[in-house]
């Protein structure tokens, strides 16, 4: 178990916790979307930390692929959430 692995992994857990906390407590919709993205980033940190196998050994490519897929999924979900919010505002403006 390399020091870098548990250092970045624990940081990932911390970021996930921060993200979860704010996702539950978020006052506005944007804050909640931000929190969910941060939580995702935290989980990705945990995954990439697992992939790291020391400076000399090539890292495990599977978590890298998972995180790549995760990032794209996260951005599409955020896009849809913001589009929904924009439509709600447009309803309020001329509603």
């Amino acid at each position: 178990m390399l020091t870098a692995q548990w250092l970045y992994g624990l940081a990932g857990c911390l970021v996930t916790g921060i993200g979860l906390g704010n996702a539950l407590l978020g006052s506005s919709l944007l804050k909640r979307v931000l929190a969910i993205n941060v939580m995702g980033a935290g989980v990705f940190m945990m995954l990439i930390a697992v992939a790291y196998r020391g400076p000399d050994l090539a890292p495990d490519p599977v978590p890298h692929a998972l995180v790549l897929t995760g990032i794209v999924v996260a951005v599409s979900a955020t896009a849809l959430a913001l589009a929904l919010a924009r439509r709600l505002d447009r309803e309020q403006d001329d509603g």
């Binding site: 992994g9 940081a11 992939a51 896009a79 505002d89």
Partner: protein, 356 residues
């Protein structure tokens, strides 16, 4: 770089990353939160490259920090009160506040406990020792996969099913945005300096996207990073007030959006009908097929992300007359030129023309 300095770098990087994450979520002003989030994304990209994950670093910088940040900023463009209505209403009387406080404290304690258990489980998971079964299998099958970059091999060959469904997720998001209505009003047309910058920046972005796509086979890069860079070109064009942001309209837009899933599916089905398993590329054709699929995926990702930034169905018919009206308005008085390249975008939409 001996280990102590490396350790110091790691510690510094992690402390700043975590504190940025905290700051971005704790800040009361939403725009400040978003900008801090973008900074957090960039630092994260640095962390990935430190952990020898260049592909992910590229994607994080381009999509995680760049495009997500752009989307969030364009969402903040409205006056903040519009968005908070969907959240908890501002609290007026007294006993409600201390109810808010107790709720806040319980949730924070819960999250602290959650983080502790997560950390404890994570450490005990790491203590199970390294698992090199999968990496060895990938290394063994790498040359049969048609590409030499292991991440692209996993993405496009070994776990191609995940990527197919992920492109379907992207398509769903795009269709959802299209169904929600027209695109939001355009930005102020670009000033002279920004105009000049665009003439250099956009072709450069397109070239880089092509390079990233091609290099993905044997070095960090690939469809997602290329798609994001292409989308960046579209975003810059839209910020410059252009309507023709490279997005076709009508059937051509739909073809572009469905390109990723469509080509992937076509290749899979053709291979299945030819007797091989679904998405089981023949070693000889593997690299060609992967390149074809990656090109289609890049186009789909770029189209979807630009569409998301535009905010809805591109207005083709409206295009003609608004462009004319915009030209007229710039003739009457040039809008304030905005420095491009700063990553952040100031939102000086003109209230009286209800352009916001």
């Amino acid at each position: 770089m001996n280990s102590t300095t490396l350790l110091a770098f790691d510690a510094l990087l992690l402390i700043s990353t975590v504190s940025l994450a905290w700051a971005s979520l704790a800040s009361s002003d939403e725009r400040r939160g978003v900008i801090l989030f973008m900074a957090f994304g960039l630092l994260l990209a640095m962390a990935w490259s430190r952990l020898q994950a260049p592909d992910v670093a590229l994607a994080e910088a381009a999509i995680g920090a760049g495009l997500s940040g752009a989307l969030l900023l364009s969402a903040v463009r409205r006056e903040p009160v519009g968005l908070s209505r969907t959240g908890a209403e501002p609290v007026q009387n007294h006993e409600k506040t201390d109810y808010r406080m107790t709720l806040r404290w319980t949730v924070t304690l819960l999250c602290a406990a959650f983080t502790a258990t997560l950390g404890w489980a994570y450490l005990s998971a790491l203590s199970f020792g390294p698992h090199d079964g999968l990496p060895r299998a990938i290394a063994a099958n790498l040359e049969a996969s048609g590409v030499s970059n292991p991440v692209t091999a996993v993405l496009l060959n070994f776990r191609a099913w995940d990527t197919l469904l992920e492109l379907a997720v992207l398509l769903t998001a795009a269709l959802g945005i299209l169904a929600l209505g027209k695109e939001s009003p355009a930005y102020q047309p670009a000033g002279v300096v920004f105009e000049g910058l665009i003439r250099w920046l956009v072709p450069l972005l397109i070239l880089t996207a092509g390079y990233l796509l091609w290099v993905g086979a044997h070095a960090p890069g690939g469809a997602f990073q290329a798609g994001a860079t292409l989308a960046a070109a579209g975003v810059v064009l839209r910020l410059a007030g252009r309507h023709r942001i490279g997005l076709p309209a009508g059937i051509r837009l739909r073809v572009l959006m469905a390109a990723g899933v469509g080509v992937f599916l076509l290749v899979g089905l053709v291979l299945m009908l030819a007797g091989r398993s679904f998405l089981g590329y023949p070693p000889a054709l593997a690299s060609l097929l992967i390149l074809v699929i990656e090109t289609a995926a890049m186009l789909a990702i770029a189209a979807t992300l630009v569409l998301a930034f535009a905010g809805g169905r591109p207005q083709t018919d409206v295009l003609a007359n608004t462009a004319v009206k915009l030209e007229a308005s710039t003739a009457s008085g040039p809008g304030p030129a905005r420095p491009a390249g700063s990553g952040g975008t100031s939102n000086d939409c003109i209230p009286e023309k209800k352009a916001c």
